[in-house]
Amino acid sequence: MSEGFDWLFFFEISLAGLGSGGLLALAGLALVIIYKATRVVNLAIGEMLMMSAYLFFALTASMNLPVWVAIVGTILSSGVLGALIERSMIRPMLGESPISTFMVTVGLSSVLVGLVELIWTADPRRLPEFMPTDPVLLGPAMVAPKVFYGFLISAALIAVVLGVFRFWRGGVALRATASDQAAAYSMGINVPRVFSLSWTVAAMIAAVAGIVVGAIGGISSTMGVFGLSTLVVVIVGGLDSVVGALLGGLLVGLVEAWAGAYLGGEYKVIATFSLLLLVLLVRPYGLFGTHDIERL
C-alpha cells in the first residue's frame, strides 16, 4: 500500500485475535476455576481440551451421531473424565506442595497425549463441519466464520458460567472453599464435593473450547500446546482472577494475532512468552491476582 498504515488489515487481524482470545479466555476460565477451588495449576488443560476434541471426533466421525448429540455427549463425558482425574490423581495430593501437584498434571498431560496417540494415532484429523460457512462481515472487515462463531460460543458460555457462580449456592461454596478450605469445612460445605465439582465444571468448559478449537484448526496429538498459551493467559491475568482470565485471554489472543501477522508465524510463541516474562517481572501475581503475603 502506498498510503500509511493498513488499518483494515489491522482491524481484521485484531478481530481474529479477539476471536481466538475468546477461546483462550474460556480455557483460562477453566484453569482459574480449578485453581480457585483446589489451588492446583493444571498444566494438562490443553490436553484435556484435546481429549474432548477427540471424543467429539469419535462420536461424530466413528459413531456417526448427529452433531448436537455429540456435543452434549462430549461435554458430559469430559465432565466425568474431569471428576475421575480429580478423584484419582489430585485428591491424593491434598496437602502436598503445589509443585508436586503441578508435576502430577504434567504427568497427566503425558498420559493423555499417549492415550490419544494410541487410540487414534498421531495423524492430524479434521472434525465434521457443523458451523455456518459463510464469511462474516463486520463493517468492512471480514472474519473467518468459525472464529466468529467460536467467539460467540465462548462469550455465551462465559456469561452462563459467571451467572451460575454468582447466583447459585454451589458458586458461593466454590468461592468459600477457594478462600479458606478449613473454614468452609467448618461451615458445613462438603469440600471434597466442591473439589470434584470444580474439576467437572472446568473439564466441561474445556470440552467446549476443545470442540471449537478442533473445529477451527483440526485435531492432532500436539493440540495440547494450546494449554501453554492458556497458562500465559492466567499468569497474566492472575491465577485466581476470573476477570483476569477473561481480559488476559483477549490480550494474549491479540498479541498472538499481531505477532503472527506482522512478524511471522514463528514469532507467535515468542511474543506470548515475552508477554509472560514481562508480566512476571513487573506484576508477578498477574494483573488482577491476589498477592500471597509471607510471614516470618
Binding site: 503441578f102 499417549g114 517481572l281
Partner: protein, 345 residues
C-alpha cells in the same frame, strides 16, 4: 546387623563413604565401571553413555530443584546451549574437545544466571513457568540463527583425543563416564560445605535463611548457574555422542524427562538422581523389549511410542502419589531392613 561406626576425628565423620563396607562397595563399583566396556556389546555401551549423560544432567537439575527448591523446566534448553556451543566451536574453530566442553558449560551457566534473575521476585510455580518461557525462547534462538544452522542444525566431526577419533561408544565411554562421576563427586562435596547448606536453607525457608546471613539472590543465581553448567557440559557430551544437534534435539519434553527423573529417583539426594536417571533411561528400552515379545509384533512398533508416553506420565503420577521420596527412599528402606535385621524396622 550393623551396630554403628565410631569415628575418631571430625574429618572422618564428614567423609562421604565412611564405613569400610561402603568403601569396599565403592571400589568394586569403580572396578566394574572400568571393566564394563570390555565385556559389553555395542548396544549396552551406547546405553551406558546415554545413562551417564542423563545422570550428569539430572545431577545438575537436582542441585537446583532438589536441593535449592527452585523448580526448573529449562534443563533441556541449557543442555541445548551447551550442545550448540560445542557444535559451533568444533565445526568453526576446531578447538580441542576439553575446551569446547568447558565453553559449553560456561555459556549454559551464563544462560542459567540470566534465567535465574527473576527468581527473587517470582517464586515456586511462577518461576517454573518462567523457565518454560526460557525453554521456548532457546528453541526459537536455535531455529532462527545462521550461526546455529537454523532448523537443520549442525553436525559434528568426532572429538579428537591426541589423534584418536572418539567415534565409537567404546571410546566415548572413557570421556563421558569419568566426567559424569566427577560431576557427581562435585555435587556430593558441595553439600558438605556452607554453599550446599545455604542451598538447602533456601529450599526449606528462604526468608529465615536471609535473616541468618545468606544473600538470597546471589545464592539462587549460583544454584542456577551451577546446575546449568552441569547441563551445558552434559549437552556438550550429548553433541559429541550423537554428532548432530538440531533445535528439535532439546524440546520441552526433555526438561520434563529430567524433572521426572529426579522425582522418580528422589529429590535432594545424589543417590536419587543416579537411580532416577538410570531408571528413566532404561524404561523405554525395557518397554521396547516387552512390546517386542508380545504376539502382535507387527503393530508393536506403532504402539511403542504412545505406550512409552503413557508409561512416562504414569510413572510421574505414580511416584508422586505413592512414593514421593522416590527410588532412593525405597533403597533406604531396603538398607534399613538389612541393617536392623533380625530386629524389625
Amino acid at each position: 546387623m550393623r551396630i554403628g561406626a565410631a569415628k575418631q576425628s571430625y574429618v572422618d565423620d564428614a567423609a562421604l563413604f565412611d564405613t569400610r563396607t561402603q568403601r569396599v562397595w565403592l571400589g568394586l563399583g569403580l572396578a566394574a565401571l572400568c571393566a564394563f566396556p570390555f565385556v559389553a556389546n555395542e548396544y549396552w555401551l551406547y546405553l551406558a553413555c546415554l545413562i551417564a549423560i542423563n545422570v550428569a544432567s539430572a545431577c545438575g537439575l537436582n542441585i537446583l530443584t532438589g536441593y535449592t527448591g527452585l523448580v526448573s523446566l529449562g534443563q533441556a534448553a541449557f543442555m541445548g546451549l551447551g550442545a550448540y556451543t560445542v557444535a559451533v566451536m568444533e565445526t568453526r574453530l576446531g578447538t580441542p574437545f576439553g575446551l569446547n566442553l568447558l565453553a559449553g558449560g560456561l555459556v549454559a551457566m551464563a544462560g542459567g544466571v540470566v534465567v535465574g534473575i527473576p527468581s527473587l521476585r517470582v517464586k515456586g510455580l511462577y518461576l517454573a513457568i518462567s523457565t518454560i518461557a526460557a525453554s521456548v525462547l532457546a528453541h526459537f534462538l536455535f531455529s532462527n540463527f545462521k550461526l546455529t544452522g537454523g532448523t537443520s542444525g549442525l553436525s559434528l566431526q568426532p572429538a579428537q583425543f591426541f589423534g584418536i577419533a572418539l567415534d565409537t561408544s567404546f571410546r566415548l565411554y572413557w570421556l563421558i563416564v569419568p566426567l559424569a562421576v566427577l560431576m557427581l563427586l562435585g555435587a556430593a562435596n558441595l553439600f558438605r560445605t556452607r554453599i550446599g547448606r545455604a542451598f538447602i536453607a533456601i529450599r526449606d525457608r528462604d526468608i529465615s535463611a536471609e535473616v541468618l546471613g545468606i544473600p538470597l539472590l546471589r545464592y539462587k543465581l549460583m544454584s542456577f548457574g551451577l546446575s546449568s553448567f552441569y547441563a551445558g557440559v552434559a549437552g556438550g557430551l550429548w553433541a559429541y555422542f550423537f554428532r548432530v544437534v538440531t533445535p528439535e534435539s532439546f524440546p520441552l519434553i526433555m526438561s520434563i524427562f529430567f524433572l521426572a527423573a529426579i522425582i522418580v529417583g528422589g529429590m535432594g539426594s545424589i543417590l536419587g538422581c543416579i537411580l532416577g536417571a538410570v531408571f528413566m533411561t532404561l524404561v523405554p528400552e525395557l518397554l521396547k523389549l516387552i512390546v517386542g515379545w508380545l504376539p502382535m509384533s507387527a503393530n508393536a512398533t506403532l504402539v511403542l511410542s504412545p505406550v512409552r508416553t503413557i508409561v512416562f506420565g504414569a510413572l510421574i503420577i505414580g511416584f508422586l502419589i505413592f512414593e514421593p521420596h522416590g527410588l532412593a527412599e525405597m533403597w533406604r528402606r531396603v538398607r534399613r531392613y538389612f541393617h536392623l535385621w533380625p530386629f524389625r524396622t
